[in-house]
């Protein structure tokens, strides 16, 4: 056997475990759920079929289309805000914090997430409530006369999400900032660029792949999450994952729930296509 063939066999051998795992424990279950999304409910029984009815319902029923729209709006808002908050934070850690403290700074940013997602979400409820810390502080400072209604609104959902994803994005953006050779910024300064121009013309474009990778991850994880809108959002509006849970909760409408999940994946696939150009994973 030639070297090239041996090389290829080795490659397949190394990739095989991951591919096999993905095939057995992802593709197969996913195929089952995909098939289910075309099934029909007759009474309370799931009847196998090739019925696009569930997808038609999603497209036509205002409540479902509305949930889809809410999900996309929230995910986009969260992604945008998180990027705007995380970028300066990552930049400060990368450029202003002394090198030896940078790792500690990052680890500290991750630690709060080693508690418990659910408990943390309830803690947010206390922070954002009418008698919570935020309103208490603002009232104490006489900045507001009546408490702000934050808890049980979309704002609370967004804040809860932003909290988590600011951490995640700080990590990915930081990584793309520190691996940038410092000479680019110097060259720009040397040619007469001020701080803002350096950022705008050099640092920002060069860190874009890291930002987009993190933003994509944020969008995907955010649009698929159930807990934050459920706890913090107070059901002020429904998101797609909540709708999925509702279909499953008592009536067990698996076909519709599966179709909703597939629709969710379709949105993610669109996001993937939009971000594709900049995603690290597909650079060959």
């Amino acid at each position: 056997m030639g070297l090239a063939a041996r090389e290829a066999r080795l490659g397949w051998g190394l990739a095989a475990p991951a591919l096999a795992w993905t095939g057995a424990f992802f593709v197969l279950p996913f195929a089952v759920m995909l098939a289910l999304s075309f099934a029909r409910m007759e009474g309370r029984a799931v009847v196998p079929a090739l019925d696009p009815g569930n997808y038609l319902r999603i497209a036509t029923e205002p409540a479902m289309a509305g949930a889809l729209a809410n999900s996309i709006e929230i995910a986009l808002t969260v992604t945008l805000i998180s990027v705007l908050l995380a970028y300066p934070l990552a930049a400060i850690v990368a450029f202003l914090v002394p090198r030896r403290w940078q790792r500690l700074a990052l680890v500290l940013a991750v630690l709060p997430f080693w508690t418990s997602y659910v408990v943390r979400s309830y803690a947010w409820l206390l922070v954002l409530g009418q008698k919570g810390i935020v309103n208490g502080t603002l009232e104490g400072l006489h900045l507001i006369s009546a408490p702000l209604e934050i808890a049980a609104t979309r704002s609370a959902t967004v804040i809860g999400f932003v909290h988590f994803f600011t951490m995640l994005l700080t990590l990915t953006i930081y990584a793309s900032l520190v691996q940038m050779p410092p000479n680019y910024a110097r060259a720009a300064a040397d040619l007469g660029a001020g701080r803002w121009a350096i950022f705008r013309h050099v640092i920002l474009p060069l860190s874009l792949p890291g930002v987009v990778t993190g933003a994509f991850l944020t969008f995907v994880l955010c649009i698929g999450d159930y807990i934050t809108p459920q706890i913090l959002g107070g059901n002020a509006e429904l998101t797609l994952p909540q709708l999925i849970m509702l279909q499953l909760g008592r009536s067990g409408n698996f076909p519709l729930a599966s179709a909703l999940a597939v629709a969710l994946m379709g949105v993610v696939a669109l996001a993937y296509a939009a971000a594709f150009r900049w995603l690290r994973i597909d650079r060959t």
Partner: protein, 255 residues
């Protein structure tokens, strides 16, 4: 400019720590409800949690599931990233997309699908099946991080090792893995974080031995309680202590 930046840093950390401070503070609540006002300070809830066999067992289960599943995801992701970075396999772009695809699919779907597949195979739900599910969601993460981190630098070193007579396994173990140590650590800890907090798959794919999020979920069914805060706080305080200690030791050794 600089004071502004430091102020921003402080504000950002305040934001990140705000709910955790609240969470920890009310774990000391002397009363049945972890809501303001703080009525007094007690360690009773910690005592209660630590003497609750179910919680302690769930803690260990969670740690085991998170550690083992992250390790498996790391190894699989590492091998696959290595293969794709090194050998030009036909259809490799499509296969790479396939490996990262689970990231885009709701855990609920993965969990339900796995449940029916396992049932079809006659496999009982257990911590092992939950771990398998966690590998499915962590593998894309590990793969993506490691694939992005692999560069010409270690390709050259790997080649040198082969030239000096190293078998493929030893190349991986003695050269590639140590050189990728930072990326491996990052991938491992992110996986650990995700697995630690994962609920839906763990709920669907376990029976009587459950992980911490599932245990917390059932504790929550009887309503909010400082005991639940104490569980979160305990994990936080222990990991924070460990990390800060490790960091200080490392720093001291280096200087």
């Amino acid at each position: 400019m600089r004071p502004l930046a430091w102020a921003y840093l402080a504000a950002a950390y305040a934001f990140i720590f705000l709910p955790v401070v609240v969470l920890v503070a009310f774990s000391f609540q002397d009363g049945r409800l972890p809501v303001p006002p703080l009525r007094g300070v007690t360690l009773d809830w910690y005592a209660k949690v630590l003497s609750d066999r179910a919680v302690v067992a769930a803690l260990w289960n969670s740690l085991a599931v998170a550690a083992v599943s992250s390790l498996v995801a790391l190894v699989l992701g590492f091998l696959a990233a290595h293969a794709f970075a090194r050998v030009r396999l036909p259809g490799s772009a499509a296969l790479r997309t396939l490996i990262v695809a689970p990231m885009a699919v709701s855990s609920l779907i993965i969990g339900l699908g796995l449940l029916s597949v396992f049932n079809g195979l006659g496999i009982r739900p257990s911590l092992v099946t939950a771990g398998i599910g966690h590998v499915v969601i962590n593998l894309p993460l590990c793969f993506a991080i490691l694939y992005a981190a692999m560069g010409d630098h270690q390709r050259a070193a790997e080649r040198a090792a082969r030239d000096l007579g190293a078998s493929e396994a030893r190349v991986l173990w003695l050269v590639s893995a140590p050189m990728l140590a930072p990326a491996l650590a990052a991938a491992f800890f992110l996986s650990l974080t995700f697995s630690w907090d994962e609920f839906i798959i763990a709920f669907l794919l376990t029976r009587f031995d459950v992980t911490l999020p599932v245990e917390i979920w059932s504790m929550l069914r009887s309503g909010l309680s400082p005991a639940i805060n104490a569980v979160g706080a305990l994990v936080f305080l222990i990991s924070a202590g460990a990390v800060v200690l490790a960091e200080l030791l490392l720093l001291r050794r280096r200087t």
